[in-house]
């Protein structure tokens, strides 16, 4: 046991998640679906309740006490996210509804106003639909090309292919995942950014998965944009984040129009508020921002070193245990990988596996995981996926492996 994990007591952590006491079909809940959405610690629930019970009003526009205090609490979420990502300036943090909305904002605003016909957007073969469809819609509306960098059979970015697709200098934006939600693969983001910049392309990283598991430093990475979603980071639904370098955000036109994003409005012509407000039309997700701040503070209080160490232990353990279950094949064997393990079972379809596991209280996901092109690339119809959170224990993984043995017997 290393230094980190000595300080990290998973039982103490688990007690902060009320839902983990629930029974499912009379069994203890074994929640192995955190990559889809994480459970919420007491700190997040309490922060939201506290806002609604004691300190709530609309923000930004009020001169009264409740509005000022609520504005402070909501804007403190921006500071918290700035700290989380180590952004240079708080105005570089734009709140959206989720990762998907953040990528769509970028595709609409940067895509239509800054990218030019003849330029291309480069994604990878292991993207989530959220980082495919917006670019496809951009392509179909504007004629901007969409390129796809291949992956290796091990489930890593094929870097030679990636670089080759940048070679002609026509790629304006690389939009690529920081961690695959299916394979658990981390992409080599430093190298991606360096290479893309050398070819004149900007880089957006989809951090929906990665930000939950490791320290992200957007300045050290030098990425141009970074997106993530609150609900996977133990925070509320309904809130996501687009980070962008200030000068890029400044140059971008707004995406949605309405209150809060304007400087002045006349029927002839309106002018826009400075960033980040230019991109935040209408009443924001106030209570969710307050909840997200609580989540960020809580996660940082535990520390990404401890989290990463815990999750590395879990992942190693899971890979070792699953390797010993007859008929189980783990999908993807990237060197640098996080706590997401997809697998197939020879004897049974992923759905049948998921249903049987569910009856034992084990929640795993089964299907295409919003990554249909990746599935096709891997020659699979579907996989089962176990994904780990801060509250996952090795005992739970043991129970998964033991139960899978029984599942495969059931279908033999």
């Amino acid at each position: 046991m290393n230094d980190m994990s000595r300080h990290f007591d998973v039982d103490t952590i688990r007690r902060q998640f009320p839902i983990l006491d629930q029974k499912v079909h009379g069994k203890d809940l074994v929640f192995l679906d955190s990559a889809a959405s994480a459970q919420k610690p007491r700190a997040v629930i309490d922060a939201m309740v506290h806002a609604m019970e004691t300190q709530y009003a609309n923000v930004h526009r009020g001169l009264h006490w409740m509005s000022e205090r609520t504005t402070d609490a909501y804007e403190a979420a921006r500071d918290a996210v700035q700290g989380l990502l180590n952004a240079a300036d708080r105005s570089e943090i734009v709140f959206t509804g989720n990762s998907t909305a953040a990528i769509n904002l970028l595709a609409h605003s940067y895509g239509r106003a800054i990218l030019r016909p003849g330029q291309a957007v480069l994604i990878s073969a292991m993207e989530h639909h959220a980082n495919i469809v917006p670019w496809q819609m951009l392509r179909d509306a504007t004629g901007i090309e969409l390129r796809v960098a291949d992956i290796t059979d091990a489930g890593e970015l094929d870097f030679a292919d990636f670089e080759a697709r940048l070679a002609d200098g026509r790629v304006g934006l690389v939009a690529i995942t920081h961690m695959s939600n299916v394979l658990g693969t981390y992409t080599p983001v430093e190298r991606i950014v360096r290479t893309a910049h050398a070819h004149g392309a900007r880089v957006m990283l989809d951090g929906s998965q990665a930000v939950v598991h490791r320290t992200v430093d957007v300045q050290a990475l030098d990425c141009d944009f970074y997106v993530f979603t609150g609900h996977k980071l133990y925070g509320p639904t309904g809130i996501g984040v687009l980070y962008g370098k200030r000068e890029l955000l400044d140059a971008m036109p707004p995406f949605m129009g309405g209150g809060d994003m304007i400087a002045s409005v006349s029927f002839e012509r309106s002018t826009w508020a400075p960033v980040p407000h230019k991109f935040e039309a209408g009443t924001p997700a106030i209570i969710e921002g307050i909840g997200l701040k609580a989540a960020v503070d809580w996660v940082r209080g535990i520390g990404f070193d401890a989290i990463a160490a815990h999750e590395a232990t879990l992942t190693e353990h899971a890979l070792a245990r699953l390797a010993n279950v007859e008929g189980v094949s783990v999908v993807g064997r990237a060197q640098d990988r996080g706590g997401v393990v997809s697998f197939t079972l020879d004897q049974a379809h992923a759905h049948d596996v998921a249903t049987l596991l569910d009856r034992q209280g084990i929640a795993v996901r089964a299907g295409q995981h919003c990554a249909e092109p990746l599935m096709r690339r891997l020659g699979l119809d579907s996989t089962a996926r176990a994904s780990f959170g801060i509250y996952t224990t090795t005992q739970e993984i043991d129970f998964l492996a033991d139960t899978l043995v029984r599942v495969s017997e059931f279908f033999k």
């Binding site: 079909h25 759905h351 049948d352 249903t355 009856r359 034992q360 295409q368 249909e372 119809d381 279908f411």
Partner: protein, 149 residues
């Protein structure tokens, strides 16, 4: 360990799911259509050959999917033998009721399909059981693809 899923995975289902008897592409056929459940990755194609009076003489199917959808496809091919379009439609309506509610008191001709009634306790699996039916109906209606639900 899995006693409580026996309602869903009855032996008949496991048998048909594992070794479907009608999982094949017909060499000669009058109609065919595909069905797709992209959320989960299930895919099915159904082939139909008509006999006299536009009744179904033979049905074959291919599927990539779970035990439920394969068993449902296999049992379907047996149940629709000799029926015409209208009769298939009615049978599917009754079958849909059964997999959604668990029973279908006034339904006739569902005997063979009864083992699938356990699906009703697994709402997210209902689609698996109905996918081959959607494809069959599409084929009978001369469409190439079942419309997604």
């Amino acid at each position: 360990m899995f006693d409580d899923v026996r309602d869903l995975y009855q032996d008949v289902i496991l048998k048909h799911g594992r070794r479907p008897e009608h999982m094949r592409r017909l060499a000669s056929f009058d109609a065919t259509a595909k069905g797709d459940n992209p959320m989960c990755g299930d895919r099915v194609q159904v082939w139909v050959k008509y006999g006299a009076d536009d009744t179904i003489a033979e049905t074959g199917f291919e599927a990539r999917g779970c035990a439920i959808s394969i068993a449902a496809g296999d049992l379907m091919t047996e149940a629709v033998q000799g029926l015409n379009r209208g009769e298939v439609g009615r049978l599917f309506a009754d079958f849909g009721d059964m997999v959604r509610t668990g029973t279908c008191p006034d339904c006739m001709g569902l005997e063979r399909l009864k083992p699938l009634s356990g699906v009703h306790e697994y709402p997210s699996r209902v689609k698996c059981a109905t996918l081959p039916w959607h494809a069959l109906i599409a084929a009978l209606d001369d469409k190439q693809e079942a419309s997604s639900e």
